[in-house]
Symmetry: C2
Subunit: 228 residues, 2 copies
């Protein structure tokens, strides 16, 4: 039995959890923090122990409230490179990337403290949106960031449409009663993704929750979170 309450408490206390998507998809494990708890030490931890791209993740409501396009939609409108955006990755899903940005108060956007600053501010925007303050959220969003920058925003298409780490971590937030406002990075080994068994061992050794995507999908289905 998975204790969603224990997972909620782990995330709220600033611990990462590990999420494996599925053997039929990327077969990758992502390290996942609750964005509201992020600081530069956690960004450095993600760099060191995950190694993949550090992304801010939120849900469909975040995208709609801010009227964010998917990057694919911007590229497809540009004639000279549109062909590049007509193809999908080999695992079949469309990319979840919206835009890359930095907070205006960052120095270059790339250091751990700068990334933490950008992500922390994005988590405040997400909190406003999920509490219903759409206009205030949109005002702050347009004033406080510049693009392109170094933190990608990924937003969910809902588990009914896509079963990536973006959708899984948004569903996990909703199941555990948290704002969809998450930081993820893929766990890498030298050369390849960290194999399933190694990711599981990392979780056990470090006292972290390891969650199988299939369990999130089942619970999200039960609770009606397949489209968020």
């Amino acid at each position: 039995m998975i204790s969603w309450l224990d997972i909620r408490n782990a995330l709220l206390s600033g611990k990462p959890v590990l999420i494996f998507d599925s053997i039929e998809r990327e077969a990758e494990t992502d390290m996942v923090f609750y964005a509201g708890t992020i600081d530069y030490k956690k960004i450095a931890y993600l760099r060191k122990y995950a190694g993949g791209q550090i992304c801010f993740v939120s849900g469909r409501l975040f995208r709609e409230a801010l009227d964010l396009p998917f990057l694919q939609d911007l590229i497809i409108k540009h004639p000279s490179i549109r062909e590049l955006a007509t193809r999908k990755p080999r695992y079949g899903d469309p990319p979840a990337f919206n835009i890359w940005l930095n907070h205006v108060a960052t120095k270059t956007g790339i250091s751990d403290s700068d990334k933490a600053l950008t992500i922390k501010a994005l988590s405040e925007i997400a909190a406003l949106i999920y509490k219903g303050y759409m206009e205030e959220a949109r005002d702050r969003f347009l004033k406080e960031f510049y693009a392109p920058g170094h933190v990608p925003i990924l937003t969910s298409r809902g588990l009914a449409n896509r079963r990536g780490h973006t959708e899984l971590s948004v569903a996990l937030s909703l199941i555990t009663g948290l704002t969809p406002s998450i930081v993820i990075a893929e766990m890498l080994d030298e050369g390849q993704s960290l194999p399933y068994e190694d990711a599981k061992r990392f979780a056990i050794r470090n006292g972290l929750f390891f969650i199988d995507g299939v369990d999130i999908v089942a619970e999200a289905e039960k609770r009606g979170y397949l489209n968020d």
Copy 2:
């Protein structure tokens, strides 16, 4: 005296060099490989010892031959987020980002081997362009990649217009007689950019060239490479 020939040989033999931009700009050191020599071990080395965003860099000719937009130009055309693209980073320069992409043969695009594959293919496109095979380069480019992906392309605006690591590494390629086809990542410390003295110490300890941006600018000026 800087030996540009020795730097050329280091790059061609697959060793990284370190480039410091300027105390008046980012004040950051980037680790730089020649893209033609890249493999998954070098990507893992960049992740471990640099830590910043791993980017493919080329020159103005690359951008023009492929008719690549800057990402800023795509964002500014999208009404709901255009304001984000009207601002500059605090160090004053416009971003050098074009698009993020993956090679179609990658699995997810994010592992070291996948990134090496994408970058290796980009280096072949750059080689075609700088040898004058524009049409073949453009055909291959549009067929072999999809976007958005995980490797950003940065292209130079010329040192006369911008003095970032993008422009410095393109000028370094030209000075050393190499194709502008480079992989860079910022050197990070926990929390902040790796301080100048620490980056210099890293170079000495590992037998790597450490190059000051100001020396590249002076040499590029002498040889007429300020707009490439």
